[in-house]
């Protein structure tokens, strides 16, 4: 069981990164960016292309992958946060969804569907055994990176002026403009932070799942579900939601088998949402106003 618990914590950490990417954009702009999963795919595939096909050092390829992911997310921001957002958030959501489909289709045209092995930046040197599981450098570095990133983002969100500006933007974008907060810039920062989180998630997932154009679909969906579980309106809740989701998924697989694990986890999610519609620790606007 210890193996499944550890594996659940690792995937939960990745879900937490993805949930946080959703949360940052949502809390700042009130837009759910459904292209997050596909941004993960783009980051993984561009990094793979730079490293394996162009022969660049993995770190350089990663920087290029991150830059392209940021650029694409800025294009999505421009489309989703134009007049569409003011018209209807659902329309903005559909725009992000369309971008996601476009990215997958484009990805298939560029990279095909076969997929490839993705190297681990930190190697997979066996360190010690946990039950029958061989814990490698990749696992330990994943835990460290996820921990550090989540801590830094939390610090930015709750301690830095930038984070407070983002919270203010979430409350009332027009009022922020009146007091001199550059809303366009704040929105761009939120989208950029999410894109960077997607890139980090990509380099942690790809050595496990391989680089392929389908890599982001389920991770994006589960990251979103994890964010909903914790509460998308709060970064910390999204992180805890990710960890809970990963561990619950893994342990239900261990105890009940693969046939029922996804059903179990989504049934639990539905029950929680029936009791707490805003997620375990999420807040509604009226709660904050009160």
């Amino acid at each position: 069981m210890i193996e499944s618990l550890f594996a659940g914590l690792l995937t939960g950490g990745i879900y937490a990164l993805v949930a946080l990417a959703y949360s940052i954009i949502y809390t700042t702009t009130r837009v759910v960016n459904f292209a997050i999963g596909e941004l993960i795919m783009i980051a993984a595939m561009v990094t793979f292309t730079g490293s394996a096909l162009w022969g660049l050092p993995l770190i350089s390829a990663l920087v290029i992958g991150c830059a392209i992911t940021v650029l694409i997310n800025l294009v999505i921001k421009a489309a989703a946060l134009s007049r569409l957002q003011k018209l209807d958030p659902i329309t903005a959501l559909l725009v992000t969804l369309s971008f996601g489909l476009l990215l997958v289709t484009g990805g298939q045209l560029v990279w095909g569907t076969a997929g490839a092995s993705f190297p681990s930046i930190f190697g997979k040197i066996p360190l010690f055994n946990l039950g029958s599981l061989i814990v490698t450098t990749q696992d330990i570095v994943t835990i460290i990176i996820v921990g550090v990133i989540l801590f830094v983002v939390d610090l930015i969100q709750h301690r830095a002026i930038l984070g407070k500006s983002m919270q203010a933007a979430a409350e009332d974008q027009e009022a922020c403009g009146v007091v001199g907060i550059n809303i366009g810039w704040i929105n761009a920062v939120a989208f950029n932070m999410a894109a960077i989180l997607c890139t980090i998630a990509a380099v942690l997932i790809a050595p496990i799942a391989g680089a392929n154009v389908r890599i982001g679909t389920m991770v994006g969906l589960k990251g979103f579900a994890a964010g909903i579980l914790g509460g998308l309106t709060n970064g910390r809740s999204a992180i805890v939601g990710g960890l809970i989701f990963g561990v619950a998924e893994s342990l239900s697989g261990y105890f009940f088998g693969g046939e029922s694990k996804e059903s179990i986890i989504f049934v639990v999610l539905m029950i929680i949402l029936a009791i707490r519609p805003t997620g375990l620790w999420g807040e509604t606007r009226w709660q904050r106003e009160a």
Partner: protein, 394 residues
């Protein structure tokens, strides 16, 4: 008077030219292919098309069939069964194809089969596929699905399942065999057929684990397999998920033989698995060896990797059973048309009477009036991944 006569001559000459051009334009034999060529499963359809393209190039280079060029009309159904059926209707009724090659993917093939049957056009199934498209037991058991118009070149899943269980038990010496399969139709069908095959061979799986196709980490399922003391793991899924099982097994330090079904021979397994899946086993009724002994087959694989290097088929990764089944099916069809003409009814009759046909990989296809499963007599062969190559296990 003279002008009228001249005018008649001009009209006659123009009419002759039109008839001649029409004759030239008609001097071609159209064959149809409907397959998935975009989306996550595109590789399967593109492999099939590549195999047919290669066969048609060879046929046309030798002057076509009875002087007529062969033209392939391929349509991408994007895994949409309704679209697949409509495209088959378009190819059959509008384009007048003389034979139709249904999709590699069972669902689409099942949707286009009835269109061919209704129109009276032979349907040539190139790939190994679910039983539902044409049952192994022969023509007539399921008349709505299998008819005298459907011809299967690839083996059925049930036929392969039987071979897989026997190999796991007899050649890999499995006494406690575990089954893992994905949660899409393909994996579920493998589960059903493998479970039946296990019962027929007096084998009981000690664990049966289903997993989502895009599962990142298989630790929980494989931990259950370890706890069940399994000594062989049989897997029914596609290439990439099989690779992720392989990767997790390595991480868990598992040494049990991993036995994969034929679909895992696709590129995605070796390109996604650590060390290109070194040591994993795979079964196939086809001769899937990366190092063919037959010079003709060796030449084919060399030409193939030279032609399709741009889509990832390097020398090491050249193993494309789907492609060479479609390749064989196209050549078989060409022989039938050569002998019987291009009327669909005569093609259908000729398909049954051509006699044994040796395909490019060395397997022999046999059709008859009572058997439209040309691979039904082929035993499953055992291969192993070694340094990225698929090597036969003697």
């Amino acid at each position: 008077m003279e002008e009228t006569f001249k005018g008649k001559i001009i009209v006659f000459a123009v009419a002759c030219c039109v008839l001649l051009l029409a004759g030239i334009a008609k001097a071609e034999i159209k064959v149809g292919l409907g397959n998935v060529m975009s989306g996550p499963f595109a590789a399967w359809g593109l492999d099939a098309k590549a195999g047919m393209d290669m066969a048609i190039e060879e046929i046309n280079a030798q002057g076509g069939i009875n002087g007529e060029k062969v033209v392939l009309l391929a349509r991408d159904d994007a895994l949409d069964t309704t679209k697949a059926a409509l495209q088959a209707e378009e190819l059959i009724y509008k384009e007048k194809v003389v034979a139709y090659f249904p999709s590699t993917i069972t669902g689409s093939a099942k949707a286009t089969g009835p269109v061919c049957i209704k129109a009276g056009v032979p349907a040539l199934l190139g790939a190994q596929q679910s039983d539902v498209t044409c049952p192994l037991t022969g023509v007539g058991d399921k008349p709505e699905l299998c008819s005298p118009w459907v011809f299967r070149f690839g083996a059925t899943v049930s036929q392969q399942a039987d071979g897989l269980v026997k190999i796991a038990r007899d050649r890999l010496k499995g006494k406690r065999i575990a089954l893992m399969h994905d949660n899409i139709g393909y994996g579920l069908e493998w589960k059903e057929d493998l479970t039946k095959a296990a019962a027929n061979n007096k084998v009981q799986f000690v664990a049966s684990e289903m997993f989502p196709l895009m599962e990142l980490d298989h630790t929980p399922s494989l931990t259950r397999v370890i706890n069940a003391n399994a000594d062989v793991i049989v897997v029914g899924t596609l290439g990439a998920p099989a690779a992720r099982i392989y990767n997790t097994m390595r991480k868990l330090g598992m040494k049990q033989p991993l036995l994969l079904c034929e679909a895992a021979i696709e590129l995605a397994f070796r390109t996604t698995a650590v060390d290109m899946g070194e040591g994993a086993y795979i079964t196939s009724p086809q001769n899937s060896s990366s190092v063919p002994k037959d010079p003709k087959f060796a030449e084919f694989t060399r030409s193939w990797s030279a032609k399709y290097k741009n889509i990832g088929y390097t020398d090491v990764l050249t193993t494309i059973p789907t492609a060479f089944q479609y390749y064989d099916a196209m050549h078989y069809l060409a022989l039938v048309i050569k002998q019987h003409g291009k009327d669909p009814k005569k093609i259908r009759d000729g398909m049954e009477t051509l006699g044994p046909y040796k395909g490019i990989s060395g397997v022999t296809y046999i059709f008859s009036k009572n058997n439209h499963n040309a691979s039904s007599h082929l035993p499953s062969q055992l291969f192993r991944f070694q340094k990225g190559k698929v090597m036969p296990v003697e």
